[in-house]
């Protein structure tokens, strides 16, 4: 059972500001039925002062989603739009005492709904669905953009993949994007880029050096990604710049085996070692 604070339970059991403001000045929506939580926020704004005079919510979700939405409306009311735009997910969580780590995405949803509602007001009141920019979507299962992930990492000082999933949901379903999330994490946190390419041209290496170099790229770059789909790859033979690889586990017999070999394994080896490398299936 979740360890919810009394504040969370209070806002869940006695949610403030439930409903929809008729003819709202701004409407922000985030989430969907598929995601398992969704929030529709409506605000009434004083045109002179830009103060949020009223805020109401409708939420589909668990106790912490309802509590976060309720708290959000309480926090937004009475603030100017500029002040409200400063509210972060951490502020919502702090006001609630705290949220279980796995539930932090509920507070993020609040922040995003508010952002969308403000945008909606500025655009003349037409409802705005909080949208991640399509070209930069990292997690397709939950429709999470690179921008949203970077924002969550910066705001909450996230350091691990698990953290990112707890806060944004990204990577929480099929897991295919975990490699990309790790790269974003490394980039934001200034981690070292992946192993530096070998200095000498591949062809001038001794056979043992070649084997070691290929093995290192396999181990660091290639297997972790294949493992996620239940597969792996092994080095079978090496002649000149031709590397023979056997796909194992789920990768063997996979319809995309050839694509995996050429577009992923060969490309990765070329990027890390030498452009002249070709990969063949063993």
């Amino acid at each position: 059972m979740w360890d919810y604070t009394d504040k969370v339970m209070d806002h869940f059991k006695n949610p403030r500001n439930v409903g929809a403001i008729p003819n709202a000045d701004g409407t922000g929506q985030v989430g969907s039925l598929v995601c398992g939580d969704a929030l529709r926020l409506t605000i009434k704004v004083n045109k002179e002062t830009e103060v949020i005079e009223d805020a109401k919510f409708e939420t589909f979700g668990c106790a912490s989603a309802i509590a976060s939405s309720s708290m959000l409306t309480e926090m937004a009311k009475g603030k100017t739009l500029d002040e409200a735009a400063q509210i972060t997910n951490q502020d919502i969580a702090d006001q609630l005492g705290s949220l279980p780590a796995e539930k932090m995405h509920c507070s993020v949803m609040g922040m995003e709904a508010l952002e969308a509602a403000i945008k909606s007001y500025r655009q003349g009141g037409k409802p705005v669905v909080f949208e991640q920019q399509e070209e930069k979507i990292v997690c397709r299962c939950f429709n999470v953009s690179e921008e949203a992930i970077i924002k969550a990492i910066r705001l909450n000082h996230l350091t691990t993949l698990e953290d990112v999933t707890h806060f944004t949901k990204a990577g929480g379903a099929c897991g295919r994007c975990k490699g990309n999330i790790q790269q974003i994490l490394d980039k934001v946190n200034g981690a070292k880029e992946t192993a530096a390419p070998t200095q000498k041209p591949f062809n001038e290496l001794t056979i043992v050096e070649k084997i070691k170099a290929v093995e290192k790229v396999l181990e660091d770059e290639i297997r972790p990604k294949l493992n996620r789909d239940g597969g792996s790859a092994e080095l079978v033979d090496l002649a000149g710049s031709t590397v023979k690889i056997r796909l194992i586990g789920m990768c063997s017999g996979c319809m995309n085996a050839q694509a995996t070999l050429k577009n992923f394994i060969e490309k990765t080896l070329q990027e890390n070692l030498d452009k002249s490398i070709t990969v063949e299936q063993a």
Binding site: L33, V34, L39, G61, C62, G172, A173, G249
Partner: protein
């Protein structure tokens, strides 16, 4: 406030008669059953009596086909890894998409080690697709592992037919019968099981003890090695009090199957289910209602989320579970409901009620009184509805 316990597929109350039978084996008769003195050695008899009780519940031909384990997870893991080791040349396993993680996860481990695993699909009622099973099975299949009854929906699978198909291709058949034992008659000989897993705490025994039925002659490689216990099929000093406990629980379960207890449970379950359907709009029963264990109903409440429902039920000390994403800490709703292609607006709002013979009419009346306003309240908060999903 007494709990209204409707979560018996999660665990059950250990019956006082069971505890009473176990107690002497902690501080009084604490000897090691393998010892050469009467004080310890006499506990062998208690173990063998319990083995006979479990064998009787499962209709095993010989008591020594019962191996005591620490839990059903251990029983499942033992069988799956045994199959991998016993048939190294047959690198193909078949299971279903809706198994408990205690079967799915070891299958995935074997998959990552190079085994081919097929996960048989289910239809929208959660019933197994036997056609697919017949399509994917071949002579390289070492083991077919299909649960007897599903933990989330209670759907009972045609295990007898599955066993026939498996045997026709020279594969062994294992069934995780954790949710069937004690609820419906389980006869390993009749259905033709080679292996079957059970757990005591699902039928009013203690937690921490399970058993594996391993048919005489079915190739089995032990998972735990060490001492000579359980005829070298499961090493480790016998957990005498818990073994006595599972034996007593098995004996009581067998009685409940014949004295009308389960009919009473089914009647209460049906009352609950029909009561909910008639009082609350936009609900959906998940599972094969014609082939279901008598104690389980899985109901989806459209447009609201399961954890919220449970938290409100908790105020009345009503205990149930949900297949929603939020209850598990994962982000996706139950793999069982997704395999059944339950629409998302219903999958997130699923609640499982699982009864026992200890439930009363009053329990069900209380749920039927308190649940409709909870659903109404949450639907008022929700931005979705039938018109707007």
């Amino acid at each position: 406030m007494k709990e209204i316990y409707l979560d018996n597929n999660a665990t059950t109350r250990c019956y006082p008669q069971v505890v009473e039978a176990m107690l002497p084996y902690f501080s009084e008769r604490y000897g090691n059953a393998s010892s050469m003195h009467t004080f310890g050695g006499q506990n062998r008899r208690a173990i063998e009596a319990a083995r006979a009780q479990v064998a009787a519940l499962l209709h095993a031909a010989y008591p020594d086909e019962i191996i005591f384990t620490s839990c059903a997870t251990e029983s499942n893991d033992s069988v799956l890894f045994s199959a991998a080791e016993a048939f190294p040349e047959k690198k193909h396993l078949i299971t279903s998409a809706v198994e408990h993680p205690a079967v799915l996860e070891p299958c995935r481990v074997l998959e990552s080690r190079g085994w081919r695993v097929d996960f048989i699909r289910v239809d929208k009622n959660g019933q197994l697709d036997l056609k697919e099973l017949k399509n994917v099975i071949d002579d390289n299949t070492s083991l077919v592992s299909i649960m007897w009854a599903n933990n989330e929906t209670g759907t009972v699978f045609p295990v007898q037919e599955v066993a026939k198909i498996a045997h026709a291709h020279g594969a062994l058949f294992h069934t995780d019968a954790v949710q069937a034992v004690g609820k419906i008659p389980v006869d390993v000989q009749k259905i033709g099981a080679d292996f079957l897993s059970i757990s005591a705490h699902k039928f009013h025994g203690p937690k921490g003890i399970g058993a594996l039925y391993a048919r005489r002659g079915a190739r089995f490689v032990p998972y735990l090695v060490g001492g000579h216990q359980e005829k070298r099929r499961r090493a480790g000093t016998e957990n005498v009090p818990y073994i006595v406990g599972i034996g007593k629980a098995a004996q009581l379960a067998q009685k409940r199957l014949t004295d009308g207890s389960m009919q009473k449970v089914a009647a209460l379950r049906d009352k609950l289910e029909q009561g909910i359907v008639s009082r609350i709009p936009d609900v959906k029963i998940n599972g094969d209602i014609h082939n279901r264990v008598p104690n389980t109903t899985n109901i989806s409440f459209g447009y609201i989320e399961g954890e919220s429902i449970l938290m409100y039920l908790n105020d009345f000390n009503i205990c149930a579970s949900s297949g929603s994403a939020c209850t598990s800490g994962s982000l996706e709703p139950s793999h069982v409901l997704r395999a059944m292609l339950v629409p998302f607006e219903f999958a997130h709002g699923s609640v499982r009620f699982s009864l026992s013979d200890e439930n009363t009419e009053a329990d069900i009346d209380l749920v039927l009184k308190e649940l409709p306003p909870i659903v109404e309240r949450l639907r008022k908060i929700s931005p979705f509805s039938r018109q707007n999903a």
